[in-house]
């Protein structure tokens, strides 16, 4: 296990070691993840790409403690989360991980501000007002805080979700197709913000996407195909990504 660095200070943000996930059994078994090894560095914006069914969503679910791997290890901040019980996973999600979903997933009955502070409220933390002010200003939703999700545009809702993901200053943010339901302007704003948070706040971000334009905002792209790691690329551009995808497809 020399591959794994358990030190909380020096460990990578997240790491998958021989990660396997199998659905069903016997003849009908589907290997969503067929033993993947991948490392997500700290203060880095990583994009995970791959065609439908490549296992990119499953990888994210397992790394985020939403789903349990069949075998192998999922490490977050050096901690093997595949061994955590429900209480441990809850604490992990609450304190160490932030989520951004394709369909925003805000609580419809709560205002924007209440949605943002929900993780802090759940943890029983006092909300860091300064941090809340900074986030909402950066995201341009400071004047929308008393609105309900139904009174906001998709872009605004996703920015609220983004603020919610960051309110507890997590070690790592997982974004699952965060721009999938947004128009191009809103997408660019969202991706720009994620990128800035990596550069300026040293936030670690992992984003699952199949949009090369979005992936080009990342520091590094990881390609998945049929549950296997199919390559990676540092400092990608939209063209290099498209080029790589063409060769993978061939």
């Amino acid at each position: 296990m020399s591959l794994i660095d358990h030190d909380k200070q020096t460990a990578p943000a997240a790491q998958a070691v021989d990660l396997q996930k199998t659905y069903g059994s016997g003849q009908t078994a589907v290997h969503a993840l067929a033993g993947i090894n991948v490392t997500f560095q700290r203060a880095q914006f990583t994009a995970v790409m791959g065609p439908s069914g490549s296992g990119k969503s499953t990888l994210m679910h397992c790394m985020a403690g939403l789903d349990r791997p069949t075998s192998g290890h999922a490490l977050v901040g050096g901690q093997d989360i595949s061994r955590l019980d429900d209480k441990g996973l809850t604490r992990l999600r609450r304190d160490s991980i932030g989520f951004i979903f394709q369909s925003f997933n805000l609580v419809p009955t709560l205002t924007a501000e209440e949605n943002i502070t929900l993780p802090a409220d759940l943890a029983g933390h006092k909300v860091d007002k300064e941090w809340l002010g900074y986030l909402t200003k950066q995201l341009g939703i400071a004047d929308r805080l008393s609105h309900r999700p139904s009174e906001m545009s998709g872009g605004q809702q996703q920015r609220v979700a983004c603020a919610r993901a960051m309110i507890n200053k997590p070690d790592l943010i997982f974004a699952d197709e965060p721009t999938g339901n947004l128009d191009s302007n809103a997408s660019a704003e969202m991706l720009g913000f994620l990128r800035r948070s990596v550069k300026e706040l040293s936030q670690s971000v992992v984003m699952v996407t199949h949009d090369p334009r979005g992936a080009a905002y990342a520091d590094r792209v990881v390609f998945l195909a049929d549950g296997h790691l199919a390559g990676e690329m540092e400092n990608p551009t939209q063209d290099t990504i498209l080029e790589r995808m063409r060769t993978m497809g061939a």
Binding site: L66, R93, R94, N105, L110, L122, A123
Partner: protein, 836 residues
């Protein structure tokens, strides 16, 4: 997290309100009952306190036998005791009291009725320290035929001072002159009891025995040492006579009223409990559906860091808040209901002394505890299901609801059913009502659990006649789609219908048993009985009736309390002669001879249970004549009308002073003219009703039906709550299937057809619940009746009533579907399809 809970509730106002109605109604029932009984308790307590406010002591005879019942049986005391007591230093005033039956006859010739309260005759006492009677016009009675009437009766029937009034008495009725009209304290009469105050000699003559008092009330001189006076009085009393404080009498009277109130209280609370129990099913169901619909939201909370415990508390928190608000509303409505019932009682002529509503802390505590308790307990199972939602459900489509639990459900349900059956069997055998109730609750819960397994096949069967068109077919499919929900919704109605069926079986059996016990025991053509509970048949009636031409035989039956082998029981007596023509006693041992020789006859049940046989001697005790022994001279077939103990009239009359006939049985030559002749001969006795045997049976059945009607009315509340549950479930399913309904509309289904689809589902739901309920209820009813043998001798299953219940359930289901089906039909097609 509280924010999520409270905002969640606010966002679902309508659903919450619909569900909350169940709790509101239940708590209203509970708190209304408590407020009413508390108020009546304080009313009577203050009434008794005011009567005895100035009376320091009462001298009376000791209570006879160990009567734990409503009031003790006491013998009169000799009037000579009064002068002895008056001479004791420290006694300022002492007066003898006489009381008994005296019922006014209204100007229209009918007896003045009180709606259950007594019609009291007493001696007029001018000493205002001792008597609460206050003349408001006229003067005290002085002549033998003078009477002072209570202001309540005088104003109701417009009697004036100087007028004549007939009064029905234990002896022959008499006409009196009204010399005065009096209030009792500040009220028109004594809490509904009418009062006729005579001179002391008249009172003794018509109510009691000459030279006797019921008791003597004593007021001490101001400043006298009360303890010393009491012991001085005690010294002069003969054996068997006691002196007690006025306060003792107040607390005795209050506690005997409390005994009646507690029966009343318990009876009402049973129905409140039933309503809440049914409400519990509705809540369980609503919360299950809400949790199902909020799967994504609850999963999201888990994703952003809510622990299982926080999700559990969020769901239970909603229940607790809902319970709290509903309970508060229920308690408020309960106070209004109590006010309404009090007004209703006044409307019936029961003039209670006006007292403010007693709103005790107990009412609030019990109301809140019950309301919040039922809601929270019912929400536990849905909350546990909420906890099991995996966080990943926020992102992916939720995996289909697991049906793997069906085996666990089957085992759990069967175990509960078994526990219920055992508790029920033990409870019925004992008999222990609480055990029976616990058994029934277990059986209901078990059925609700097991019903999920039955829901699909049974819904399919019930729905078959409806499934001719597409809407009916879809409705049937919908009711089969989620068996668990169908079962839960139908369960509320199941409980309601089961209880209604129990009552129907019990009522029909009781009715039939009563008629057959009359048929078995009575061969007379005519029966003379008192026309209402308070009235007493005059001792002169038998002779008058017997003298009517055409009456071939007459037998007077008496009934009284005696103590046999240490227990207070009811003793019936009949004359040995004329028996064959009037009363039928089926002897299994001994015979009519035992009646003539004053021996005790017992019924077969008592003989078997107490292992008694002819020839044995048992100890008995009579209030007037004291302890003695009786030889068992015969054993007869058990009959509810005769009772367990029977003897001859000669023996009875020797041990009871001036008893009032319980019934007078006449054999006639069969001509209907005789009936009218008897009625005419008894014109002076309007408190006696003349009935043929068939009329008597009908009257008995009618009074049973009145009682049943009341019980049905109280159970209706549970049925209404169950219907609200059906409305709620349908509303939620419509909401849940918005897309599907939109799609159906898009492919050409008409609004009318959509409505029909929802209605079909409702009818299937309610018939499903009704069938389960009627089956279980009938079984429970038969078990109940069996356990009451021989009190109820025949088991009758009223098939026609049960079929009517089934039809009513279907109609109620249609009714419940009105609003949800309209709502579904109104859905905008585009909006419905666009909704995610």
């Amino acid at each position: 997290m509280w924010k999520v809970t409270i905002k969640g509730l606010l966002a679902r106002k309508l659903r919450v309100a619909l569900t909350a109605i169940a709790i509101v109604l239940g708590v209203t029932f509970v708190s209304g009952t408590l407020i009413l009984t508390d108020t009546l308790h304080s009313t009577f307590n203050s009434l008794f306190t005011s009567i005895y406010a100035k009376i320091d002591f009462q001298v009376r005879s000791d209570a006879q036998f160990n009567t734990k019942g409503i009031s003790a049986i006491r013998n009169p005391i000799d009037e000579s005791l009064l002068t002895t007591i008056e001479r004791i230093p420290g006694v300022e005033a002492a007066d003898g009291q006489v009381g008994g039956y005296a019922q006014y006859v209204a100007p229209d010739g009918k007896p003045v009725t009180t709606g259950g309260a007594a019609t009291l005759g007493l001696n007029f006492d001018s000493n205002q320290q001792i008597s609460e009677l206050r003349l408001i016009s006229g003067s005290a009675p002085t002549a033998a035929n003078d009477v002072v009437m209570d202001a309540g009766t005088a104003s109701k029937y417009d009697f004036k001072v100087g007028e004549q009034v007939r009064i029905l008495l234990a002896g022959p009725p008499r006409t009196f002159t009204i010399t005065g009209i009096a209030t009792f304290g500040s009220s028109g009469n004594l809490a509904g009891t009418t009062l006729a105050a005579f001179t002391l000699p008249t009172a003794q003559q018509v109510l009691d025995e000459p030279g006797q008092f019921d008791n003597i009330n004593i007021v001490t001189t101001p400043g006298a040492d009360k303890a010393a006076v009491q012991s001085a009085i005690a010294k002069v009393l003969p054996p068997g006579v006691q002196v007690v404080t006025g306060q003792t009498v107040v607390s005795e009277d209050t506690s005997s009223v409390d005994q009646i109130l507690s029966i009343f209280n318990t009876a009402l609370l049973v129905f409140a409990f039933i309503a809440l129990f049914v409400g519990g099913f509705t809540i369980l169901n609503t919360f299950s559906i809400i949790v199902g619909q909020r799967t994504k939201e609850l999963a999201l909370l888990r994703v952003v860091g809510a622990s299982r415990r926080q999700v559990f508390r969020a769901v239970l928190g909603e229940a607790a808040i809902m319970g709290l608000v509903s309970s508060l509303i229920g308690i408020g409505l309960g106070a209004l209901t109590a006010l309404g019932i009090e007004a209703l009682l006044r409307g019936f002529g029961t003039t209670l002394p006006s007292a403010p509503l007693v709103f005790g802390a107990r009412t609030v505590i019990v109301g809140l505890a019950v309301g919040i308790g039922v809601t929270v307990i019912s929400a536990i199972s849905p909350a546990r299901r909420a906890v099991r939602i995996p966080p990943i459900a926020a992102i992916t489509e939720r995996p289909a609801e697991g049906t793997t639990q069906s085996r666990r459900r089957l085992i759990g349900g069967s175990v509960l059913a078994l526990i219920g059956l055992i508790a029920l069997a033990l409870g019925l055998a004992k008999p222990a009502i609480l055990l029976v109730a616990i058994g029934a609750v277990f059986i209901f819960i078990a059925t609700a659990i097991l019903a999920a397994s039955l829901a699909s096949p049974l819904s399919s069967l019930i729905g078959r006649p409806l499934a001719r068109g597409v809407p009916g077919k879809l409705g049937r499919e919908n009711s089969m789609r989620n068996p668990r929900r169908t079962a839960q919704t139908a369960s509320a109605l199941m409980v309601g219908m089961a209880l209604v069926s129990v009552v129907a079986v019990f009522g029909a059996s009781l009715s039939k048993s009563t008629t057959s016990s009359v048929d078995n025991a009575i061969s007379a053509n005519l029966l003379l009985t008192s026309s209402n509970g308070a009235a007493q048949v005059s001792s002169t009636v038998p002779a008058i009736a017997a003298a009517v031409p055409g009456v071939t035989a007459e037998a007077t039956a008496y009934q009284g309390q005696f103590e046999v082998r240490g227990d207070v029981e009811s003793l019936t007596s009949v004359p040995p002669d004329n028996l064959a023509a009037t009363v039928t006693v089926h002897f299994t041992a001994g015979g009519v001879g035992a009646l003539a020789s004053g021996e005790l006859l017992i019924d077969t049940t008592t003989a078997t249970n107490d292992h008694l046989a002819v020839g044995e001697t048992v100890p008995v005790d009579f209030a007037r004549t004291g302890p003695t022994t009786m030889r068992i001279g015969g054993i007869f077939q058990s009959n509810a009308l005769i009772g367990s103990y029977l003897t001859g009239n000669a023996f009875f009359l020797a041990h009871f002073t001036n008893p009032s006939p319980a019934a007078i049985l006449l054999a006639t030559n069969g001509s209907t003219a005789v009936t009218s002749a008897v009625t005419k001969a008894l014109a002076a006795y309007p408190n006696v009703q003349v009935q043929t045997r068939a009329q008597f049976e009908q009257a008995q059945a009618a009074s049973i039906n009145t009682l049943l009607g009341l019980v049905y009315a109280l159970l209706a509340l549970a049925i209404i709550i169950a219907l609200i549950g059906i409305v709620n479930t349908l509303m939620l399913s419509v909401f849940e299937r918005t897309r599907e309904i939109g799609l159906l509309r898009a492919v050409g289904m008409q609004r009318r057809q959509i409505r029909r689809m929802i209605r079909s589902e409702a009818v299937i739901l309610s018939i499903f619940g009704a069938i389960l309920g009627i089956i279980i209820g009938t079984a429970l009813g038969i078990a109940l009746v069996q356990s009451l043998k021989p009190g109820i001798s025949v088991v009758v299953v009223p098939a026609s009533s049960l079929v009517i219940f089934l039809v009513i359930s279907g109609v109620l289901g249609l009714l419940a579907a009105t609003w949800p089906s309209r709502r579904a039909a109104k859905l905008d097609i585009l909006a419905a399809i666009a909704t995610t």
